[in-house]
C-alpha cells in the first residue's frame, strides 16, 4: 500500500488450543493512516488487535510494529511498546472508583513525574478535545454510554500515543454519539498524526472516515481496498457485507441436516396420524 509501514503482519497464524482463529494473515498499515478491519462476529478481528497490542503471541509469523517484533518482546519491552499505544475498549473500561479527571490523569500519573498543575492542564485539554470539559468531577457511573466512550478516548490519548487501537468503538451507541465518536476518531487521527487501526462491523460509519479497509472472514483476509473500491467491489461477499443483505455467500439459514418438511412431519406420507 505504501512505502513507510508502521504495522506489518507477515504470515501470521493464531490458534486457541486446536481451534485456528487467524490463518496466514498478511497486512500492512502505513504510518499516519486510519485503517479498518471488518468482519462478522467471531471472524478473528479482535484477536488481530490483541496480537498487535502484545496480549497474544502469534503461533506463526511476525507482528512488526514500528520496526520491532511484538512477539519477541519481554514484559519490560512490551510495557514500553504499550506506553506509546492507546487502546479504546469496546465499552470504555473506565476505572469505576476514580473520577473522570483521575481516569484521564491515570496514565499521566503512572508514567510521568509531571507537576500537578501541568497534569490538570493536560487533562483539561484532553477533555476539551472530546468536548466534555466540565465533567471532570463526575464518576463514570454518572456518564451516559456515549460520554463514557468519549472519556475513555480522552484517557487513551492522554500520552499522545503513536498508535491507536479501537476495539468496536461504535457498539451500542445512539446515532448522535456514534457520529460524535467517528468524528473524534478522524479528527484525532488527523491532528496527532497517529496511526490507527479500528476493528468494527459498522460499515457505513467506518467507510466515511477510514483510509483503507481489510475484510476478515473465518480468520482470513478476504478483501481489501479504499472505501470507494469497497463500495464498488464486484466480490459478492463484500457486497453482502457492505449492503447488509440477509442472504448471499454467507447463508441466512443454518445448514440443517434435515429438511423443514421432515422436521414438521410433512414427509411423503402426509401428516402424522
Amino acid at each position: 500500500m505504501s512505502i513507510d509501514p508502521f504495522i506489518e503482519l507477515r504470515n501470521v497464524s493464531f490458534a486457541y488450543g486446536e481451534r485456528l482463529i487467524l490463518k496466514n494473515i498478511n497486512l500492512t498499515i502505513p504510518r499516519g493512516k486510519l485503517v479498518a478491519v471488518m468482519g462478522g462476529s467471531g471472524s478473528g478481528k479482535t484477536t488481530l488487535l490483541r496480537l498487535i497490542s502484545g496480549q497474544f503471541r502469534a503461533k506463526h509469523g511476525e507482528v512488526i510494529v514500528d520496526g520491532k517484533n511484538v512477539g519477541a518482546m519481554n514484559q519490560r519491552e512490551l510495557f514500553e511498546h504499550r506506553r506509546r499505544m492507546g487502546l479504546l475498549f469496546q465499552f470504555g473500561a473506565l476505572f469505576t472508583d476514580l473520577t473522570v479527571f483521575e481516569n484521564i490523569a491515570f496514565p499521566i500519573r503512572e508514567h510521568t513525574r509531571l507537576p500537578e498543575a501541568m497534569i490538570r492542564d493536560l487533562v483539561t485539554l484532553k477533555l476539551n478535545a472530546v468536548g466534555l470539559r466540565g465533567t471532570q468531577d463526575l464518576m463514570p457511573a454518572e456518564l451516559s454510554g456515549g460520554m463514557a466512550r468519549r472519556i475513555a478516548l480522552a484517557r487513551a490519548i492522554a500520552l499522545d500515543p503513536a498508535l491507536m487501537l479501537y476495539d468496536e468503538p461504535f457498539t451500542g451507541l445512539d446515532p448522535i454519539s456514534l457520529g460524535v465518536i467517528a468524528h473524534l476518531i478522524k479528527k484525532l487521527n488527523d491532528a496527532l498524526g497517529t496511526t490507527a487501526i479500528m476493528v468494527t462491523h459498522d460499515v457505513h460509519t467506518s467507510l466515511d472516515i477510514v483510509d483503507h479497509v481489510y475484510f476478515v472472514s473465518n480468520g482470513e483476509i478476504v478483501a481489501e481496498g479504499t472505501p470507494d473500491e469497497v463500495r464498488a467491489s464486484p466480490s459478492p461477499w463484500v457486497h453482502q457485507f457492505v449492503y447488509g443483505e440477509a442472504d448471499g455467500p454467507v447463508h441466512f439459514a443454518f445448514p440443517a441436516k434435515t429438511r423443514l418438511e421432515e422436521d414438521l412431519g410433512l414427509g411423503q406420507g402426509g401428516h402424522h396420524a
Binding site: Q55, F95, E110
Partner: protein
C-alpha cells in the same frame, strides 16, 4: 461395570489434585504479589487509601461486635465462676479469652466477611469490566497497582482491628461485671493485670491476627483476580472467599495455638 465403585474414588482423586494444584497456584500468586510490592512502599498513599476501605470502614462492625462478645463473656463467665466462688477472676477470664483466642479469630472472621468479600467482588468486577485489562494495556501492572496495595492494607489493618476488638471486649466485660453485676472495680482490673502477660498473651494474639490478615487478604485478592469474569463468576468467587477464609482462619488458629501456648 464397577464404575459405581470407582466414580467416587475418581472424584476424590480429582478433588485432591485440584486442591494441591490450587495451593501451588496461590503460592505462585503470592510470590508474584510480593515481587510487585515495590510500588506499594514507594507510593504508600495507595496503601493508605485501601486501609481506609478495608480497615476504617470495618470499625463499626468490629467495635460493636467486640463490645457484645465481651458483654456476653461477662455474663456467662460470671455465672460459671460464681458457682465456684471465684467471680473475682472474671476480669482475667474475659481478658485472656479475648486476647488469646476470641479477639484474633472473631475479628478475622468479621474482617473476611466484610472486607475480604468486598475486595474479591471489587477486583472481580474490575476484571469483568476489563479495567484490569485496560491497566495492562496502559503498561501498568495491575498486580502492583491494584492487588498489592489491597493486600498490604489488609495485612496492616487486621492486627489493629483485632486489638480494637480486644479493647472493646474487655470494656464490655467490665460493663457487665462491674457496672451491672457489681464486682469490685479494683479487684476486676488488678486480676486482669496480674493474669495478662504482655508477650505471652498480647503479642502472641497479635501475631495470630497478623497471620490471619495475610491469609484472609491473600485469599480475597486471589479469588478476585482469578474470578470468572461474569456476574455468576464474581458471586461464586465472593462466596469462596468467605468460606475458604473461615476454614483457613480456624485451621491456622489451631496450629498457631498448638505452637504458642
Amino acid at each position: 461395570m464397577l464404575d459405581f465403585l470407582f466414580a467416587p474414588l475418581r472424584k476424590l482423586g480429582h478433588m485432591t489434585i485440584n486442591a494441591i494444584w490450587r495451593l501451588g497456584y496461590i503460592s505462585r500468586f503470592l510470590v508474584a504479589l510480593l515481587a510487585a510490592s515495590g510500588q506499594s512502599v514507594r507510593r504508600f498513599s495507595l496503601v493508605i487509601r485501601e486501609v481506609y476501605f478495608a480497615g476504617v470502614l470495618s470499625l463499626i462492625i468490629i467495635v460493636v461486635s467486640g463490645l457484645f462478645v465481651g458483654m456476653v463473656l461477662g455474663l456467662q463467665g460470671y455465672n460459671t465462676l460464681a458457682r465456684f466462688g471465684s467471680s473475682d477472676a472474671l476480669g482475667a477470664m474475659v481478658a485472656l479469652a479475648l486476647l488469646r483466642e476470641l479477639g484474633p479469630v472473631l475479628a478475622a472472621l468479621l474482617f473476611a466477611s466484610r472486607s475480604g468479600s468486598a475486595m474479591t467482588a471489587e477486583i472481580g468486577l474490575m476484571k469483568a469490566t476489563e479495567q484490569l485489562d485496560a491497566m495492562n494495556m496502559m503498561a501498568v501492572n495491575p498486580l502492583a497497582r491494584v492487588i498489592a496495595p489491597r493486600f498490604w492494607a489488609g495485612v496492616i489493618s487486621m492486627p489493629v482491628l483485632a486489638a480494637l476488638f480486644n479493647v472493646m471486649g474487655i470494656f464490655g466485660g467490665y460493663l457487665v461485671g462491674v457496672v451491672m453485676i457489681g464486682i469490685d472495680e479494683g479487684t476486676y482490673w488488678s486480676q486482669t493485670r496480674n493474669a495478662v502477660d504482655l508477650h505471652y498473651d498480647i503479642v502472641n494474639g497479635l501475631v495470630k491476627s497478623l497471620f490471619f490478615g495475610i491469609a484472609v487478604t491473600l485469599i480475597a485478592v486471589f479469588e478476585g483476580h482469578e474470578a470468572t469474569p461474569t456476574a455468576a463468576g464474581v458471586s461464586a468467587a465472593t462466596t469462596r472467599t468467605v468460606v475458604t477464609s473461615a476454614l483457613v482462619i480456624l485451621a491456622l488458629d489451631f496450629i498457631l495455638t498448638a505452637f504458642m501456648f
